[in-house]
């Protein structure tokens, strides 16, 4: 609720004095909304209200709703950039490092919001699913050993995704209350086994 107070107070039109940080405020509010309500459930008016701003400003800055969504998720996401860092170097404890990097990602509130927004939108507006999926797969493809076509890599991804959903979205107590190191320790062997299986099977 970091909305400026504008209950019934009319604020005269025209530019405000000083530099404007409204664009960023809109992006933040948009991410919050898309992340909790999904693309369709988030309304431009609610986003504007949360940002303490007139709805028409959204149109002025971003055009239409889809563009705002794109801008909001792009804004909060060096997500993949941070994830793929974990794949650098090879080494023996690859599974452990990947799992740890991935779970850290979800612990960052902004990243969580981005991922929630994407997942919610994928589940809730079918026409958006293929492009979003392919975008995510493409980013994995370049960096994972074996690429996005590899069943082993995708099994590892499925374990991490499921874990993140249960831990950070559904917030299942048995997983949400455990500290990250503990979870990583239990999951790392799984990741390693999937990646090794892949290497063997081609």
């Amino acid at each position: 609720m970091e909305a400026r107070d504008r209950g019934t107070t009319r604020r005269s039109p025209g530019r405000r004095p000083g530099p404007s940080e409204t664009r960023q405020a809109i992006l933040d509010a948009a991410l919050r909304a898309f992340s909790t309500r999904g693309f369709r459930g988030a309304s431009l008016r609610a986003i504007a209200a949360d940002a303490g701003v007139d709805p028409a400003l959204i149109r002025h800055f971003f055009g239409d709703k889809a563009s705002l969504f794109a801008a909001a998720v792009a804004d909060g996401s060096d997500v993949v950039a941070r994830l793929v860092g974990a794949f650098e170097g090879g080494g023996p404890d690859l599974g452990r490092r990947v799992a740890d990097a991935y779970l850290r990602l979800w612990e960052d509130p902004e990243t969580l919001a981005v991922l929630r927004a994407i997942l919610g939108t994928v589940l809730t507006s079918p026409e958006a699913m293929p492009p979003l999926r392919d975008m995510m797969l493409a980013s994995v493809a370049v960096h994972a050993p074996g690429g996005a076509g590899s069943a082993g890599v995708m099994l590892a991804a499925s374990q991490l995704l499921g874990l993140a959903v249960m831990r950070h979205i559904l917030q299942v107590p048995a997983l949400a209350t455990l500290d990250r190191e503990h979870v990583v320790a239990m999951v790392a062997p799984t990741i390693d086994r999937y990646l090794a299986t892949e290497a063997a099977a081609g």
Copy 2:
């Protein structure tokens, strides 16, 4: 698209001759809609149109939108009943049996729709999340060894959930094109390991 033709044709009001199967038609259409659009994204009018029926009939049969949702997911779900069958018996190949039963569940279109609807709604209307989550956890709690509070059981669940999402919702090719036996074979050891870890750690 099994909607009756009612483009511009006016159909006179009043009861239709013969027995009425409209209630079920509405439930089916509702499940389709909730499953692809989420709770908020699915509109009563669209559901009614898909069922070939006047929107007011929905209100007549089910009251409000939330009750329709409840009825729709309850209608298509002996889901949990079918899943927990896999836990009966103990035996050595528990992981294999559970994974197989679970994946079969998602291959049934109606069950897939139910699960999609629940997941989409959970992600997209936060107020619905705790009740739905607790409902699912409660059903697991009674049947899984160790109950819903056990990290091992929940880790196994996370693997299965993530797998189902990537295979049947995102439809990632590397997993969606594999036959079930193959996937089960790769995943079963993971499940067994999690459940065993749990048994050891208490």
